[in-house]
Amino acid sequence: MNPIWVLAKNTLRKSLQARSLFLVLFFALALVFFMIIACKGDESFRQKMVLDAGMTLLKVFGVFLVIFNTLPLFPGERDHHTLHAILSMNVSRSQVVYGLFSGAILALILNFVLMVAIFFLTSAGIGLPLSFSMFRSLVFLFEELCVLTAFSVFFSIGTSFLVALMLCFFILIVGNMTYSLHLIIHETQGVVAKGIAIAYYLLPNFSLFDLKDAAINSQTIPYSYDFAAILYSVSLCVVILCLASWLLERQEIS
């Protein structure tokens, strides 16, 4: 059996044991809470409210799932010395990185699918029609969470849990502000503009994946955008995981 698959299965099992499904329960409770508020408005308000709240909650809980599932993975392997046991076998360090990442993605898929199912059921319950644009924006959100998972793996290898946590939130916030950075570049000049431009191109562009408003306001977005976004997220994940492998290769496992 491929070591990456073995490690991925074990990581998924670990995540389930860590009771990550409780987050899905909290998500459902939060969604019900917003539904109760939405019931006070007219039908149009209710539909927009549930859609907006649902998508926002999916993102918030998705981010929590990624961060609290992925960040302890690598330190856990090191602290329990299981990393030593794995690396004392014919398993390369990059296989460990890809294995942990794949396991974290499997756990994310499981939890995300459950949350989406709850969201769709709730939407159907209040008579909200399920649109293709809704489904598309959820796929985009999933891509964003995958990129964040890759960053979490990278940070958890390179730093302590607390620093990795801060870096993840930093990347998430700044990544969602890249559109604003783009605007600032046009309004400034000289060294400042160049510095911001470098940051703009180096930082991940999470605002690319934000199709929530488009889904709520039924805006049309060309399908070529989907292809570009998938290509961008996959490339970003590959680059970050390669960096993570490079980092782990150079690390002393003491």
């Binding site: 044991q17 010395h81 299981t82 030593h84 046991a85 690396l87 004392s88 076998m89 014919n90």
Partner: protein
């Protein structure tokens, strides 16, 4: 064939200081070792001497900073060098979310062992280490000794040609220690190469083909077990009586005359000790005291440590 070979191997931690240049802390200094196939090789050293660091370098957890090292003829930085290696850490390794059999299944999968072979091997090893009855208990409920036994199973799962055992009897009860001795003896008879790190000199004397002493990151000497046992006796008896009442065999073993009728003799092994005790019942002498001489390996180890200490003081 040398299963493990190191040539002038060195390792050092690098410390980056904010306001000064880099400083190297050498942990291993010019280690040259040749361990043959089927050999039980024991590395003895005090805390911080570099025993575990040497293991970690050989398993590529830590990078080599000078020299070279090979396991089964393959440079240690290649993952293939560990394809036929088993490793038992001094720390109990476990996943809190697994039970014993699933922990072993995970590592069997990683080692490419599948199907009935996997099931059979796991059952045999759990039986051998007395863990079969603990079946589905979570590993968090295992004691340190039980975890160490489980890790011994993990280490032997893929039937490796080379086994690295880091403090294998640490935290084990006497039965567990006996089990480890038996397993090592069995592995030796199967022709496996075993490299052991330990503080326990008596354990080393009992099982090793060769013993190396490591002091402050450098090898201070390698001795054969037979060499030590033949030269240095394990028992000293204080006897009262006339030396003439002794048989010729025991007369040759007399070491010191305390007074006219009291003398000490060195007894090379347990058999001779027992013979002396049996004779003392019928003959005209009396064994006043009988003590085990201090472990010869320990004495050698202490001597080396004292020499190193004296050298350091002289510098």
């Amino acid at each position: 064939m040398n299963v493990i070979q190191t040539n002038n191997l060195g390792f050092g931690y690098q410390t980056n200081h904010w306001f000064s240049s880099k400083k190297d802390h050498d942990i291993l200094k010019g280690i040259s070792l040749e361990i043959k196939e089927g050999e039980v090789f024991v590395l003895l050293g005090h805390n911080g001497a570099g025993k575990t660091t040497l293991f970690r370098v050989l398993l590529n957890f830590l990078p080599i900073t000078s020299g070279e090292a090979f396991v089964l003829g393959i440079p240690v930085f290649k993952p293939e060098a560990r394809a036929n290696v088993g490793y038992l850490s001094e720390h109990p390794i476990f996943y809190p979310h697994l039970d014993g059999p699933s922990f072993l299944e995970l590592f069997a999968d990683l080692g490419g062992i599948t199907g009935d072979v996997k099931k059979g091997r796991i059952a045999t090893l759990l039986e051998k280490t007395g863990l079969i009855s603990h079946g589905n208990k979570p590993l968090t409920s295992y004691s340190k000794g039980m975890l160490q036994r489980l890790n011994l199973c993990r280490c032997l799962l893929a039937n490796p040609k080379v086994v690295f055992l880091d403090e294998p009897i640490l935290g084990l009860d006497p039965l567990g220690q006996q089990l480890v001795r038996e397993i090592i003896t069995e592995m030796r008879s199967e022709g496996k190469t075993i490299f052991i790190n330990t503080h326990a000199t008596a354990f080393a004397r009992e099982i090793a083909d060769r013993i190396a002493f490591i002091m402050a990151g450098a090898l201070s000497g390698i001795i054969n077990r037979s060499e030590v046992v033949a030269v240095e006796p394990p028992f000293i008896a204080l006897v009262q009586g006339h030396p003439q009442s002794f048989s010729e065999r025991f007369s040759s073993l007399i070491q010191n005359m305390v007074d006219e009728n009291t003398f000490s003799i060195l007894l090379p092994d347990e058999k001779t000790r027992n013979e002396l005790l049996v004779q003392s019942v019928h003959a005209e002498f009396q064994v006043i005291s009988l003590t085990g001489a201090s472990d010869p390996i320990e004495r050698r180890f202490n001597l080396l440590a004292a020499e190193l200490d004296a050298k350091e003081k002289a510098q």
